[in-house]
């Protein structure tokens, strides 16, 4: 009888430990909605070939990012209804103007948005030179693995995705993550 009790206690302890380990491993994992901190966006290194990026731009032109092969491409997922995007768009436009000669291209994916509002925001911010694909259903952003707005993917000259940032990027982030890729 005693042996049975010890066995039961051991089994119960094992079950509780297993449950604890399972829960702890869940707690240890980064939460899905890690909020961008004041120090900049949440940035993760990525690998793999960049997904296709084709469609119609907000100005009605046909676009295919395959034509940008050999450049560093910054793909930004945004929408006119997203508040942080308003602060971020001028940063992107400035980077494009500054580094276009060194081979940087910035492409926006305007998701689940009204094209009219999107164009109005771009001209209101004075960044009409940023080209964006209209993605009214958001399916292009999903194909890139975007989880929200704003998000930025950095593709290197060989067409490999290198960085993925959740939250608005700033000039310091550009300097730290994008500038080295243009030198290589």
């Amino acid at each position: 009888m005693r042996r049975g009790r010890v066995l039961s206690a051991l089994l119960a302890a094992a079950a509780v430990t297993a449950l604890g380990v399972t829960l702890a491993s869940g707690v240890g994992r980064p939460s899905g909605d890690a909020a961008p901190t004041a120090a900049g966006p949440v940035t993760q290194a990525r690998s793999g070939t960049a997904p296709a990026l084709t469609g119609t731009t907000l100005t009605g032109a046909t676009f295919d990012a395959a034509a940008l092969r050999g450049k560093v491409v910054l793909v930004n997922v945004w929408a006119s209804w997203c508040d942080p995007c308003r602060q971020e768009l001028p940063v992107l436009a400035a980077a494009q103007r500054r580094w276009a000669a060194r081979g940087l291209a910035v492409v926006g994916i305007d998701i689940r948005d009204n094209a009219e509002s999107a164009r109005a925001l771009l001209s209101g911010l004075g960044v009409q030179d940023l080209q964006s694909i209209a993605d009214p259903q958001g399916t292009t952003a999903v194909a890139w693995g975007a989880r929200g707005v704003p998000e930025t993917f950095v593709v290197d000259r060989s067409g490999q995705v290198r960085w993925w940032a959740q939250g608005a990027v700033d000039a310091a982030w550009m300097e730290q993550r994008v500038s080295p890729l243009m030198s290589s």
Binding site: M1, G4, S8, L11, A15, A18, T22, S25, R29, G32, D33, A79, I111, R112, Q137, G138, T139, A141, V142, A143, W144, G145, A146, R147, G148, V149
Partner: protein
């Protein structure tokens, strides 16, 4: 004793049957739809919500992606793999069959096996009775009580689970996919705006699309009314009759049927409109109907 044993066995059979039914109802094979795939994916920006449940723009984009991929002829498995490739295995609502995920699948089974094993062991020992050395210290009736209490708790838990499983709404009945609901809502507003512009025939076509997906009375009545206004009275009457057949107390259906019959010159119109007035004398349309009936 034999009767008791028989009853116990009977109870066990009933419980096992109930448990089996519950498992079959919740895990039985179901045809995969865009909605069921969306239910198996977790919205990456939400806390514990599936792509089917979430109202976030990203979840809506993921639902549209599922629709798009299925329309392109991909299998549900390929669609799931597409999302796992982009969002990682955590996007799946069900744990994987590897690593810790496997433990989550095995744990319930192992626990049941363990409890059953312990119970069997205990039962097998019982006939021996307490060994002579232990006998004086422990009185048999006192030792039996906790065992019965455990039995009762176990039966109660099983009964509760079975009751919840049986009482819960049948999963197959909510195969009406959420993306379709989304689409229906936007189609409804499209039809409404067509109606507002006086384009009744087009509005009727859009309502008909919605009705084929979701044949509820409200939409069918809207369809009937749009048909009536598009001067397609015969079709309007048929639709209103269908609603009336399903909901004989619907005064709106009576009104539209009466008006449609009147527009198509059917002699039944007067009787139908009188029925409407009798059923809903205080309806805002009643005064107009009385005027129509009084007119020659």
């Amino acid at each position: 004793m034999t009767l008791r044993r028989f009853l116990t066995l009977g109870l066990l059979v009933v419980l096992l049957g109930a448990a089996g039914t519950a498992v079959w109802r919740s895990a039985g094979p179901r045809p995969e739809s865009a909605h069921s795939i969306a239910e198996q994916l977790l919205c990456p920006t939400c806390q514990g919500e599936s792509v089917a449940q979430s109202q976030s723009p990203m979840a809506a984009a993921m639902r549209d992606t599922i629709d798009q991929q299925l329309a392109a002829g991909r299998t549900p498995e390929q669609v799931r793999r597409f999302f796992v490739d982009r969002y990682g295995p955590d996007v799946l609502a069900e744990p994987s069959y590897r690593g810790l995920g496997l433990l989550l699948w095995l744990l319930p089974g192992l626990t049941v096996a363990l409890v059953a094993g312990l119970a069997l062991r205990r039962r097998r020992r019982k006939p021996d009775g307490p060994s002579p050395a232990e006998a004086p210290a422990e009185a048999p009736p006192a030792r039996r009580r906790p065992s019965r209490a455990w039995d009762a708790v176990a039966v109660a838990v099983i009964a509760l689970v079975a009751a919840v499983a049986v009482a819960s709404p049948h999963r197959a009945s909510d195969t009406r996919p959420a993306p379709t609901a989304d689409r229906n809502t936007s189609l409804q507003s499209l039809a409404q705006s067509l109606e507002d512009q006086g384009r009744y025939a087009e509005a009727a076509e859009v309502y008909r699309d919605v009705v084929t997906q979701r044949p509820d009375d409200r939409t069918r009545l809207k369809l009937a009314f749009a048909l009536l206004r598009a001067e397609r009275a015969t079709e309007a009457a048929i639709t209103a009759e269908q609603v009336l057949h399903d909901s004989p107390t619907s005064t709106d259906a009576l009104l539209i049927l009466g008006l449609a019959q009147r527009a198509s010159g059917s002699p039944a119109a007067t009787a139908t409109l009188r029925r409407f007035l009798k059923a809903a004398p205080a309806d805002p349309a009643a005064a107009e109907v009385r005027r129509l009936l009084a007119a020659p």
